[in-house]
Symmetry: C2
Subunit: 465 residues, 2 copies
């Protein structure tokens, strides 16, 4: 079935000609051409099989037949906007709501995580009448202009440091590499107090906080798992709404819960939850869920909210199929079990290899923090890039992220198996065991890329450094 229209070099040439040069490929010096995929496996034009450890969008597995079938059936019938009544819209909203605390009951369907987070800001601004946003260091919330402003992961890339006066950056609650670490008696309170200080300084300048926004687990920021209780303490002080960005980590990935914010405890419920990537298994769709109170405030502005494609019957059919498959195949349970197993394997690897400074994870959201020195925790950036490139040669797709691009990042399709974990960790073990020229590392210039790691060989036509 899958065939090439162009040979690989022609594809590369056409891409250079017609696609914006800011749009990067994985493995710039030797990018991969993929022509089909199924489950957790992707296949090149030469039919080489790659194990996908990174695609959190293909949540229930690449090209899942049940999802494809749901999309096809609905496309054959009807795909139109939400100004007409349709059962899929309300049925899907009802089903999504059932996964959330009762208070989070009103849905807005949009097309991407970026649209979702932008709408979340609009809801917060309108509901509070305030302007200021508190975000976490190293956060990534999306690519539209309002979100670049609140994404240090992105705006740190720009030479100019002209940060909006309405945006405040709080320290990332990273207990391995951050200001307060695992030896601190109460890091949750300590990090929350940092936010409180920011709020007080903003108030002193006459500013008021519209929202605190955080990924429930920081992904691009380096697979950071905030200490339990941190979100509650922040919420108490914020004087605005709490936006939990679940774009990368929602839909059962953390194993023990359906939503990652639930790791903070039952006593924490955000005011707004944004969803994205995994929601449609690759279909462009997304959702914002909020409280009736916030929704009524937004309504009271008198401005309609209309999104041409958002909530169309095809997107909703696909979204429901994804929920069905998660349930039928117990993918949340699988994430819990395989994630635990993967962590055990990685813990053993850590005992063996001093390059591994920390392993952390919840379900199939796992980070391996590589360090040059365990005491100083010096990020082993070049080494991480080397591991990634060597894994690619072994047909394993893994990425490295975080502010230092030294954290190996597992976020595979949720059908990832114990055998897959064995294979990936075995290959890492082999790479870390082997000896090879350190000189090579200097060739890899890590970029401040995006929510996935991007790197290129110096002098390989890549101007971003």
């Amino acid at each position: 079935m899958a065939t090439e229209v162009f040979d690989k070099q022609k594809t590369i040439d056409l891409r250079k000609k017609y696609i914006g040069p800011s749009c990067k490929v994985f493995f710039n010096h030797d990018p991969i051409k993929i022509i089909r995929a199924r489950g957790q496996y992707m296949y090149s034009e030469k039919d080489e099989q790659y194990l996908d450890c990174i695609n959190n969008v293909a949540h229930v597995g690449h090209s899942h037949p049940e999802v494809v079938s749901a999309g096809t059936k609905q496309m054959e019938l009807l795909n139109t906007n939400s100004r007409f009544l349709h059962d899929n819209l309300v049925h899907y909203a009802q089903r999504l709501q059932a996964t959330l605390p009762e208070k989070l009951s009103v849905c807005y369907f949009v097309n991407s995580g970026s649209e979702a987070n932008d709408l979340a800001l609009r809801l917060a601004w309108q509901h509070t009448g305030h302007k200021d946003i508190i975000t976490l260091d190293n956060a990534y919330h999306g690519h539209v202009s309002s979100l670049i402003d609140i994404s240090p992961y992105k705006f740190h890339q720009l030479g100019q440091t002209e940060q909006s006066q309405h945006v405040h950056v709080a320290p990332s609650p990273d207990i391995y590499r951050g200001k307060f670490r695992e030896d601190h008696p109460d890091p949750a309170t300590a990090y929350a107090d940092e936010v409180r200080d920011i709020i007080e300084k903003a108030h002193a300048k006459g500013h008021k906080i519209a929202a605190f926004i955080a990924e429930s687990l920081q992904s691009c920021g380096g697979q950071v798992i905030p200490p339990v209780g941190y979100f509650q303490k922040v919420a108490q002080n914020v004087g605005g709404v709490f936006i939990a960005d679940e774009v990368q980590v929602g839909f059962g990935r953390v194993g023990s819960h359906f939503w990652a914010f639930q790791l903070q405890g039952d006593d924490f419920v955000p005011d707004i939850v944004t969803m994205g990537k995994p929601i449609g298994n690759g279909h462009p769709m997304s959702c914002v869920v909020t409280t009736r109170e916030v929704a009524e405030s937004f309504m009271s502005s008198g401005m309609e909210y209309f999104n041409t494609f958002g909530g169309n019957p095809v997107s909703c059919a696909i979204g429901m199929a994804v929920l069905d498959v998660i349930e039928k195949e117990d993918l949340q349970g699988n994430a819990l079990r395989v994630g635990k197993y993967l962590m055990e394997l990685l813990e053993k690897l850590k005992e063996k290899h001093p390059l591994i400074g920390d392993t952390r994870g919840c379900g199939l959201f796992v980070g391996v923090d590589l360090v040059k020195d365990r005491l100083k925790r010096t990020p082993a950036t070049a080494e991480a890039q080397d591991v990634i490139y060597r894994l690619k040669d072994q047909k394993i797709l893994l990425s490295a992220d975080g502010p230092h691009r030294n954290v190996l990042k597992f976020k595979p399709p949720m059908c990832f198996s114990r055998e897959d974990a064995d294979l990936a960790v075995g290959k890492i073990d082999h790479i870390l065991t082997g000896t090879h020229s350190r000189a090579k590392y200097s060739l890899y210039i890590p970029l401040r890329g995006n929510e996935d790691n991007i790197y290129c060989l110096a002098g390989d036509g890549c101007k971003n450094k």
Copy 2:
């Protein structure tokens, strides 16, 4: 095949419970439930057939089998992000480029017209190093926060008039209802001079213009067709880039050309073109095309541009199928022929009914401006709403838009036929001929809704006035 999950009242109840109240339905006092559609026809849960004169998203016809098939085949194979090489991405970019002037050669694929216009602003800001944007009065460019700021159609809805100091609003080049009319010897120059004056005033304040943005034909603004030569004259003075927003009007709708900006003449080429609605026949996708020069400037910031869903193989397959169908079924030619025929019918109707002040159109983009008084051109807002509601009773879907919501707006699927035109115009003739209580008009409160008209019966639970 198509069946209901819930009865209509239950659908309405669930919608009230789970969907943001800012998301409006058509015909609020008696919304329509649609469960299937094909070509230019939509079908209710009772299998009533509606003629769709408004859906410019279902461009090649609702549920076109060739588009559905292309989407299905690709979904079965692979749907992943553009960090892997894939032929669909580059092939589609190549094919889109072939419809445009040579200079417009670099594509960025995104998920919606809003994402496209936001990216266009980012490109303009980065390329020029300037901040200010000039937009047209009554313009609508999207729903993300950066675009609300440049959409008078939207921000006029807000009580507060806190307009960004970096946004300048030029008069809409409307030669029927605007500042300079059809009797002006050179309206193109007169309207362009207005923009020049704005630029000079901005410069005097130390501001510099990043971009002038305009829909190639204003749609929500009241089906406005700018005088030929206007865009060229604006472009000469702007000192920033020219963004042509083709989200509503591109892809052959105007009949004589594939892109509506081409109506201005061969000597006009914008720096950035944004696309949307019709591009995927309902599939959430969109594109920004710009020059190599602008693309290189954007690249030089050092910031990667990554869009999770944008340019995925499924979206590109669907986009190519849409281009195929437009060509195979000569839909651009059909738009030219049927549009001309529709205009002739409407011209005759204008001779007969004094309520019609103006008819204007290009291809299947047609407006009928209803007036209470032909000399004063007083907008017949309530009458327009009445016509729309009566047409709905006759199973014809039409909308009314423009700043006064008095312009009947045709923008049907491109397979719209002469018979469809006869039917719709015949029904309008009948409605305008019939006598009925004018008192009823006062019940319809037109909203400043969105890019389509929204209205509701006063007291019908609708707070937006």
